[in-house]
Amino acid sequence: MEISLLLKIIYGVASLLLLLLGVTYAIYFERKVIGYMQVRYGPNRVGPWGLLQTVTDVLKLLLKEDIIPSKVDRKVFIIAPVIAFAPSFMILATIPWSENLYGADLNIGLLYFIGISSITTIGILMGGWSSNNKYALLGAMRGVAQMVSYEIPLVLSVIGVVILSGSLNLRDIVYAQQDMGVWFIIPQFLGFIVYIISAIAELNRSPFDLPEAESELVAGYHVEYTGFRMAFFFLSEYVYAIAIAALATVLFFGGWLGPAFLPGIIWFLFKWSFFIFFFFWLRATLPRARVDQLMTFGWKVLIPLALVNIVITTLVKAWMG
């Protein structure tokens, strides 16, 4: 009992550190990818190939003076970044990185993932509200409206996967794909499309990065935040990108499954990096959608599509027995 608790703590701390490292290099990767797409080099000054650029950036953020404007709602202002960040880390516990490497083997893993991740919305609203800034408030309102609306198609889109695999356990979902002999991207293509679009909206990433639209709202909900508090918001965004990409890998691309000449974790990381790359690719390519068009698209296109997907999946499942 003692030992297993210790192991869990070690896993937790190790994954937090790995995660920080992962986020640091995800940002580096993003800047390099977007740099090359924009006919420039990206970071290349600090360390070999600029590898230490983001490390120094993070250090700079941590060492900065912590400014709390005088007119903010102090308690809420301080606690908001924590509330936004903590769930993003908690959801990673259920991701099965390989057959044996996972934090928690939850029976309701998928439900847990989606349920916990929506807590972040509250952190964003708290941050925007307490900042006592009009841009922050507008950004937070947009953020909440967007995240609440896109959570619905996100949840609906994964129901097809749950119907096919008959489980909410993320490991069982991968095993179900092994048994079926085909990744769920093929039988659940419509579900995948809805999932990836609503996931990007849920992540507030381009082209749906309205809550922090720089050209409209300056920086959106975190405009008054500086130093490590801002870093927390920033961090939670990237951790979510990592988590959503991992979930997509598990649900639609067979998790760690792949030809046996490489270990499962490598396959997982390979597919997962593809999704991360995909997010960055979109950011380099697309303009930003408008807030009302975004809502219309979510409610009038994605939700009906997700429902159609559920109906088709159910009918096929019933017909096949």
Partner: protein, 368 residues
């Protein structure tokens, strides 16, 4: 139960990423819908018109650079042309060709900046860098021609300051070819994009009547179906020697303005190509014989040219001394921006950025 709501006053600018300088817009918003907009200008006011009264005619040339600093060649030209007209100076032909080439290159550079920053405002990051990559090739040409990247002061009363350095014209020819190719990338990256179309089509529509009532000019007017371009309707310099089209659209929305500007870049490239072919046969002085002290006869004159933003005009009153008695600058950005409050009412705050960006103003010119 009814929820009590109230309008919020949002102060956009003068420090805001999308106001492109120090423009301030006080908007009354209900949720994200704009109820009222009140532009505040003057943060960059330097009193250029008054300053002119205390400067000689030649000394005023650098001040024109700082009006529309993205299109300084045309500013230079209009000032020089105004004084030349008043004095009846005949500009040598080679100088005219150099003027045309530099003005059209500058128009392209100006439209590149618009294209890049407009898409940046819409949230697309890459176009900005593509546009600046191409603009850089033009600025390099200007550096070789006159040593400056933006504030050229290249033109002089009676001609231009420098002849093209050896090989420069061939470089221009190469750049024109390059740009013609690169423009195709612009269409591939942006024009057909679904989100872009949704953001721009039907947004910020200006009717033909509004254009005429408000005195709008330039691409903004041509996007609304007003077929008017000073280069063709009231030719100045040697524009009548070139064959080019004036792109006109009728919709009047932001997308139409986008199309007009992109097409104008192509037409400008065409003009430069023809000018390059013709200038080879023209040799001679690059500046007319003008006395050191410029003293136009007493009288007044208004001349105009097609800047990248619209009709750029100068009304000059001379009392026969070495300094102008009064200079009135008709700055197209200043005139075009006036319609903004009318366009913004009832629009979403995200459209504010698109509509304002679509008009394409330079604050140095608005405030003068």
């Amino acid at each position: 139960m009814s929820i009590r709501t109230e309008e919020m006053i949002l102060n956009v600018g003068p420090q805001h990423p999308s106001t492109h300088g120090v423009f301030r817009l006080v908007v009354k918003i209900d949720g994200e819908i704009i109820q009222d907009a009140n532009p505040v200008i003057g943060y960059l006011h330097r009193g250029t018109e008054k300053l002119a009264e205390d400067l000689t005619y030649t000394q005023f040339i650098p001040y024109t650079d700082r009006l529309d600093y993205l299109n300084a060649m045309t500013n230079n030209y209009v000032w020089c042309n105004t004084v030349e007209q008043l004095m009846g100076i005949q500009v040598p032909e080679r100088a005219e060709y150099l003027r045309i080439i530099s003005m059209e290159l500058n128009r392209i550079a100006s439209h590149f900046v618009w294209w890049g920053t407009f898409l940046l405002d819409l949230g697309a990051l890459s176009p900005f860098l593509y546009a600046f990559r191409d603009r850089e090739t033009i600025l390099d040409l200007f550096v070789k021609l006159c040593g400056a990247r933006m504030t050229f002061s290249y033109m002089r009363i009676g001609g231009v300051r420098f002849d093209a350095p050896s090989g420069w014209l061939d470089e221009v020819r190469k750049v024109v070819k390059e740009l013609t190719e690169n423009i195709k990338e612009y269409d591939l990256l942006v024009t057909g994009n679904e989100i872009f179309q949704h953001r721009t089509r039907g947004v910020g529509v200006i009717t033909k009547e509004q254009v005429i009532d408000w005195g709008l000019t330039g691409p903004v007017a041509r996007a609304s179906g007003v077929d008017f371009d000073i280069r063709r309707n009231d030719p100045y310099s040697i524009y009548d020697r070139f064959d080019f089209d004036i792109p006109v659209r009728t919709k009047g929305d932001v997308y139409a303005k986008y199309e007009v500007r992109l097409e104008e870049i192509r037409q400008s490239l065409r003009i430069i190509e023809q000018a390059l072919d013709q200038i080879d046969k023209v040799d001679g002085p690059i500046i007319a014989k003008v006395s050191k002290i410029i003293k136009p006869p007493a009288g007044e004159i208004y001349t105009r040219a097609e800047g990248s933003k619209g009709e750029l005009g100068i009304h000059l009153v001379s009392d026969g001394t070495t300094k102008p008695y009064r200079v009135k600058l008709r700055r197209p950005s200043f005139v075009n921006i006036e319609i903004l409050p009318e366009l913004l009412k009832g629009k979403n705050i995200a459209d504010l950025i698109a509509i304002f960006g679509g008009i394409d103003v330079v604050l140095g010119e608005v405030d003068a």
